[in-house]
Amino acid sequence: MIFPEFVGGVHLPPLVPYIALAGTIGFILMILPGLIWIERVVIALMQDRSGPNRVGPRGLLQSTADVVKLFFKEDMSPKSADIKIYYLAPFLTVLCAFSAGGVLPLQTLTFHLANGDFQTVPLTVGDVNIGVLYILAVSSLQVYGVVLAGWASNNKYSLLGGLRGSAQLISYELSMGLAILCVVLFSGTCQLNKIVDAQSGAPFGLPLPEIFNGSIFSWFWLGTGIIPVVIYTIAMIAETNRAPFDLPEAESELIAGFHTEYSSMKFAMFFTGEYVSMLVVSGLNAALFWGGPLPPLNIIPFTLIPGFVWFITKVMGGIFFYTWLRATYPRLRYDALMHLGWKRMLPLGLVWLFLLAVVSLGRSPAKSADNVPEKPVTATQQVQTLPNAVAHR
């Protein structure tokens, strides 16, 4: 699809990040009740029971009704709680969850400039050259939500849940970082759009037909040797405190873990934060290992579908995987969790990174890498520095 540069006198390319922003926030807010519905229905199907079926057609409005109900629930807080931090914790959770998704590569838009040139602008809120680091940094700030909620509630179960959560989050962050490093090593950049570009070539540089360019075989899940995607997927489930790694909120031992004392919308905010960060880490998974907005095969019916549809499809695949795991596996014991994170995944990730470095010794220097650019090119800047673009305005 090619868009004109001006629509009704409005210069479009600089507005693209804000379109992406509105789209992202709107999509997340719209899909959230749907996500909860999907999860409940899928688990119900897997466990051979009905699931939600009262409110709306097939129970579709159940979660919406729950949200409305939660707004009108009594807003109470325990007397012994540290009240400021108690309110800060859910706020931080929502803040970090929503702002982490800002660098995900949704699509690349092509504009037909007034002077006849074509220009591509990534449909990303902020296409910054530290994209991966930004997501890692912001999503790891979520540990503060867990820790502060657990500590401020002044409840023994909350404290235990918060401690467990923080230890789990920081343990798995190491393996997650190492798995992402494997991708960064091959693509030579931290900018997510360039990582997607690096996956758009022929698989393993082999002389294959055009149809395989940027296909499912040239994405990094295969390109980095499957181990990193396995490590990343395990770590992303542990990072979002989902089953089978949901020890911080293990209901059979800790009631509700760190959010035991939270009621009304404050409880729903932890819920929101959890689901939004599920979307974000699935989106990062899609962008790093599953080609982001690239279609699975470079042939005509697939390439006609816009990239953001593919991206959302891949994210939803991740969400389905989460649900599937939740219905399948029992919860890990805590020492087994730490054992897996520190004694299995961390050394495996380090050794694999080193192996990949040895393998890529023979490769010729990468072309598309942004090896320390003097002036990082961003979406809006790209527009301004284009020749003749300004003159025609």
Binding site: Y18, L21, T24, I25, L70, F71, F72, K73, D75, M76, P78, S80, A81, P90, F91, V94, A97, F98, S99, V125, G126, V128, Y134, S153, N154, N155, K156, Y157, L159, I170, E173, G177, L181, V184, L185, G188, T189, I255, M265, K266, M269, T272, D335, M338, H339, K343, P347, L350, F354, A357, V358, S360, L361, P365, A369, N371, V372, P376, T378, A379
Partner: protein, 182 residues
């Protein structure tokens, strides 16, 4: 250069407004009728015992400390990984050997903390290893000292099994010397 970050700043602002609105609206809409029992912390329906600001296992602290060390070392890998792919072959060999030295040192530290048992969550990991319970190893172990001001230092190895000694903190509590398993 900074212009690419402006939409992200707007996004963070929007997220903050969303979070604030969620808290604020539920505070506005919801009723406020606190009673004594609603405001106590929840402990499965019984009266809460003591305070939650208790001591917690030092293992959590240890994990956090190890995380800082390993995270800093991982961060050192990031610039290396970004620049590695675009180097010429000779430079790549140099980069790789540098990183081999770094990872080797990292693994020395890793095996050290493994050997120290810092990553064993409880003693069950070690109990599996029968070697740590052979008489030779137990003979080298320093005697287990116990007791407080009231009792003086007690060597548990020399006490008859079943004898009662006051424990460290509370002299009102007593501990039975464990059976022959030691």
């Amino acid at each position: 250069m900074i212009s690419g970050y402006i939409p992200i700043a707007v996004l963070i602002l929007v997220a903050a407004i969303l979070g604030g609105a969620m808290i604020g609206l539920s505070f506005l809409f919801g009723p406020h009728k606190p009673t004594f029992f609603k405001s106590t912390s929840y402990e499965c329906g019984i009266d809460p015992v003591g305070n939650a600001r208790e001591r917690f296992p030092i293992k959590f602290y240890l994990v956090a400390m190890l995380f800082i060390i390993f995270d800093i070392e991982t961060i050192f890998l990031w610039p290396w990984a970004v620049t590695y792919g675009s180097q010429e072959h000779g430079m790549k060999v140099f980069f790789l050997s540098e990183m081999a030295v770094f990872v080797a040192i990292l693994f020395i530290g890793y095996f050290y903390i493994l050997g120290k048992g810092a990553l064993d969550w409880d003693e069950s990991d070690r109990a599996v290893n029968q070697d740590s319970h052979t008489p030779e190893i137990k003979a080298k172990r320093a005697p287990i000292r116990f007791g407080n001001e009231a009792s003086g230092v007690v060597d548990l190895d020399k006490k008859p099994v079943g004898d009662r000694v006051p424990t460290y903190g509370a002299s009102s509590q007593e501990e039975v010397v464990a059976g022959g398993k030691r």
